[in-house]
């Protein structure tokens, strides 16, 4: 096993990436999709507004992007900290 200080740095970098991702996760669903929808009501999308689009489609597309970003970023982070699988 690698030394402990390197592992701690790896873990806090991971937690930081998770927190940023979860902020975006909450913003597009609970934010744009529900709570902030009235603020987005001025932006028309196909007969309705942007908030409706986020609630029914946009949030799902962002979720997808987030998961792939995280997988890519973490696999890179593993290598940087030398903790990747053999």
């Amino acid at each position: 096993m690698a030394d402990n200080s390197s592992n701690t740095a790896y873990w806090s970098a991971n937690v930081r990436i998770i927190l940023i991702s979860l902020v975006i996760w909450a913003l597009v669903s609970f934010g744009f999709g529900i709570l902030l929808r009235p603020m987005l009501s001025g932006i028309a999308v196909g007969g309705t507004d942007l908030g409706f689009w986020f609630a029914q489609q946009g949030s799902i597309l962002v979720f997808l992007a987030l998961i792939f970003f995280y997988a890519w970023r973490m696999n890179k982070l593993d290598a940087e900290h030398g903790v990747e699988e053999e």
Binding site: S29, F30, F52, Q56, I60, I67, F68
Partner: protein, 594 residues
Amino acid sequence: MSQFAINLLFVGASFALYIGIAIWARAGSTSEFYAAGRGVHPVTNGMATAADWMSAASFISMAGLIAFTGYDNSSFLMGWTGGYVLLALLLAPYLRKFGKFTVSEFIGDRFYSQTARIVAVVCLIVASTTYVIGQMTGVGVAFGRFLEVSNTAGLLIGACVVFAYAVFGGMKGVTYTQVAQYVVLIMAYTIPAIFISLQLTGNPIPALGLFGDHVASGEPLLAKLDAIVQELGFNEYTAHHADTFNMVLFTLSLMIGTAGLPHVIMRFFTVPRVADARWSAGWALVFIALLYLTAPAVGAMARLNITDMMWPNGTNGEAVSVEQIENEARYDWMATWQKTGLLDWEDKNGDGKIQYYNDQNAEMQAKAAEKGWEGNELTKFNRDILVLANPEIANLPSWVIGLVAAGGLAAALSTAAGLLLAISSAVSHDLIKGAINPNISEKGELLSARVAMAVAIAVATYLGLNPPGFAAQTVALAFGLAAASIFPALMMGIFSTKINNTGAVAGMLAGLSVTLVYIFLHKGWFFVPGTNSFTDADPLLGTVKSTSFGAIGAAVNFAVAYLVAGATKETPQEIKDLVESVRIPKGAGAAQDH
């Protein structure tokens, strides 16, 4: 060839395919039975996870709930996809690194307690059984329609098929069969949607057609839909009417529940490496999104088609006549669905026409009095029939209808089988081998797994006869239970070294019991109708419906675990080391059994 024969042909052919694959990949040892030998590629695993995940609730029920409510039911769309973000970021890679077969094994080892493991098993069984009840509701609708029998007969036949199917093979059979099921179900969902989107908007991609223009009127599709449903006194489709607090809680419960359901988490034990567990969650969501991006289009377009069907001369013209319904071929679907008891109409005012409108709306009541209507005459339209009836409503070719039949059954069967597997492994592997009789033979373990499956399906079928809601609503309750019990324990187990054995056990028990009691108070004790003290229309706590309570249950779980852990003995050093090792991908070997 009659429609009935075509349906049987499609359903029969798809079943032959699944069973063929199950025989080809039949499970031998217990390790294969649970985790398919860990040789599954992330894309394959993602596809199988998608089939496992998208159940009768997603396929049969969800679009119907969106169609009749509109924007307010967007929670299902966000909730059942957003959970994958939690799963990918917070659980999947670490559980794979841990390298055991079941969720409760992780909880038992991390919280160094046999009690924690047994409590986790109980939580899994309660959530999974509730989930299976929802599946059985969907199975009943699908079999009832395609065998042209009553809903109850359909349910009983379906239960036998599900049982035979789940007992057949272990997860390996299930993994490859589920890939086949995914292909069948996604084709069955998207092909009719493409036809309908072309008819209504000229756009072959339903997800884009939803925001496109309605060909017949030239207006945007959603604007047209908003206008006609309001003319009949219903809520504007795209507007926000529901209580915002409850909507947020409901969405959150579905998300957390997604990341706490054993049959989905188990999937991530079957990939070869930690990196693959991260990708697998992404691939699963790609395949799930294909259906979830289509579902809101299916809902909106079906609502438009149904309204057109009931008001062929426009909402200000004459309603459809009883004679038309009985004689015109495009109304045949109404008679077939009437046989299942899930659709009905009645000419209350005896004018020979069937007026469909919202008779609870004051303005419409005034209009009805003026026109001599005596209430809404489309007296029953079960939400769960919408997706299955959709191709008939849109008058699509009969092979499309047969395909949808096969797809609906694939969705219900694949999930029911995955859940039964999770229940049976919880009982045989965790409860019997892990706690009651550690020296049980492999044969005995497999036998007890199958007995557990039989008991679970019998209970679910019995309760499925009087379900606590539409398929997706019952399933939402299962998510609430998983959210309140399993997810917090897993997350705290990975992200905090402070939570100890007593804290975790107290947290899980508190989360599960408070959620279960809240659900039973609203849906009846053990879902027995009539034993409830409150209803979701007027819930115990403010506007919080029983389906939304899971998020509160999860908060209770976190809080209790934290407080109890603070007041009891600290986590031992070797467990802290275990948590450290779970966090680092390096050194993830093959799975170890006890």
